[in-house]
Symmetry: C2
Subunit: 334 residues, 2 copies
DNA sequence: ATGAAAGCGCTAACAT
DNA sequence: ATGTTAGCGCTTTCAT
């Protein structure tokens, strides 16, 4: 491995000067500079960023912790982080927790010991355990919070309220009176919040005497399908179903189709997330949009600022959701 | 930051001994060992992996270069790599090239300078440029080769032949005589190979006088849709369309549906990749499977072996594809 | 059974 | 305008 000494010898300067030439950190005579640069070229010098990191305490590396890259939710978020990271010469350690606290802890430990300059945590398990480990490690952190607003840490969180309200309003304007909600897994904080927001939105209209019910799903397709099977047993079907995420909604649509029930003519369906799939299924799914790319990008922006300036006041942003009307909703069936 | 010296002082040994306790690299009296360990606990010691890496030349970090994480092809592959990596205490630098050679080069440069222990390249642009940079950097590399077998580097490559042959055979058995192929972007090596394999498969049956044609798409949905629009202008439609990837096939199905043409009754459609989507669309897509998780896993296995043993003979594996019949294919229309 | 000291490649305060 | 030198935190050879 060629290093400063090699360059220094070849260009007859000290290694200090080599350093200063490389980092442009003090004046060096043009001709000396040229000698050094020529030597670097000749030796095909590649800086050792580990050594640099050790000396400076900055690695230009960040960690990105997510639950599961196969969840169609994440790729765009990752993209948002990545683009901005690369633009600013950062590399990303990608860590999948696989929804496993142990694995998450292990990853975060490694990140800290590898001296990342910062960490973005988007895992739904942004748990007190993980947090504990992190907070006292003094590494800059940004958390993407699927839940309620966090205490002291930079965070960006998602507000489903607006979108959910729009969704209900949309249905009401189409004269729906009986609206069901298929939720995510009961244990998931995210899922609970979505339920709450649904109920809140519904109750805004309670002068209309809306009828509603919450059925548990699992945030996957089969959950939506099963939920519909359950619903089908009732004597009178709802005229609309809102689902806790798009996969669920797509499963629900499938269930309805299999039962010979038409979407949206007989039953309207609304999803949440606006994953790419929603535009592909038929009918195209009306859904509540969540700007995943922007979430990632904003998280990275926060992190960059935090890295530059350790004692900035807490940064926080609430990303609103909004309804995207497509083909899976229409007038309520009489 | 607490370091060996702090521990050494507190436990009244030399920092050498601390190192040996931590790495279990030579005998230390049980009682001394205990003192050291207690001190570590007390100080909540976290090793600095940069320093370790600098001293040992091993970072327990690898780079994974892909084209675009939003391409539904990649997440599973990444998962395959990640799981095995974490199991072996490696972290992953994820690099998106965004199909951009410049960005790819930049990333790879950074990986090398950050002293990764190895690199997996799955970018379709596994180009001579990138390769040049890499080969003489002596970093262990595994390339996932969408193309023809590579020369000297460990690689795993995908053989579409079998799957493509099965696909054509399947169609032939359903009495299709006019089969079109919607390809990927012309410039892409991968895409070319898929075309070749298609033609090769078709020509195996040329005693039957099959009619065929290749239409250029772009490996995205709209490409499939546009290709179908083009096809619709012909006087006599093909009875079957094979697509270079699943997104294209799904776009094609959409195009057909919009034109009032039924899949599979009027036209059969076959995709390639077997992404999750194929089971969600309706009709479910018949497709050629490519085991992406396994690709990732195998690549990581190769890399681990290569890291352990620099001068292993070249490792290589060819992953076969196979046809998965679902709902989008049926008897040819008379 | 343990320590001293040099070295990994780079930075930066202090000289000159 | 450039050099000397002491680190950064860890490993490892050579002593004892």
């Amino acid at each position: 491995m060629v290093n400063y000494n090699d360059i220094a010898k070849l260009s007859k300067v000290s290694s200090t000067t080599v350093s200063h030439v490389i980092n442009e950190t003090r004046f060096v005579l043009p001709e000396t500079k040229k000698r050094v640069k020529d030597a670097m070229k000749k030796l095909n010098y590649q800086p050792n960023l580990l050594a640099r990191g050790l000396a400076t305490g900055k690695t230009h590396t960040i960690g990105l912790v997510i639950s599961d890259i196969r969840n169609p939710f994440y790729p765009e978020l990752v993209q948002g982080v990545e683009e901005l990271a690369v633009k600013n010469d950062y590399n990303i350690f990608l860590c999948n927790t696989d929804y496993d606290i142990e694995k998450g802890l292990k990853s975060i430990g490694a990140l800290i010991r590898k001296k990342v300059d910062g960490i973005i945590i988007t895992s739904s398990q942004a748990d007190s355990l993980l947090m504990g480990e992190l907070v006292n490690s003094k590494v800059p952190i940004v958390i993407v919070n699927w839940g309620r607003r966090n205490v002291k840490i930079d965070n960006i969180c998602v507000d489903y309220k607006v979108g959910m309200k729009e969704a209900v309003k949309h249905l009401v304007s189409l004269e729906h009176k009986k609206i069901y909600f298929v939720s995510g897994p009961g244990a998931l904080k995210t899922a609970k919040i979505r339920i709450d927001n649904f109920i809140e939105a519904i109750e805004k209209f309670n002068r209309l005497g809306l009828e509603y019910k919450v059925i548990e799903g699992n945030h996957k397709m089969d959950g939506g399908l099963k939920a519909v099977r359950k619903i089908l047993k009732e004597k009178e079907l709802p005229t609309a179903i809102i689902c806790s995420n798009d996969l669920t909604a797509i499963g629900a649509m499938k269930g309805l189709r299999l039962a010979g029930i038409k979407v949206p003519e007989d039953v309207s369906v609304i999803g949440l997330d606006n994953i790419a799939l929603t535009k592909i299924v038929s009918p195209m799914l009306t859904t509540i949009e969540l700007e995943r790319y922007k979430i990632g990008k904003t998280a990275m922006e926060f992190l960059l600022k935090r890295i530059k300036e350790k004692d900035l006041p807490r940064q926080t942003e609430i990303l609103k959701t909004k309804l995207i009307v497509r083909e899976s909703t229409s007038e309520a069936k009489k």
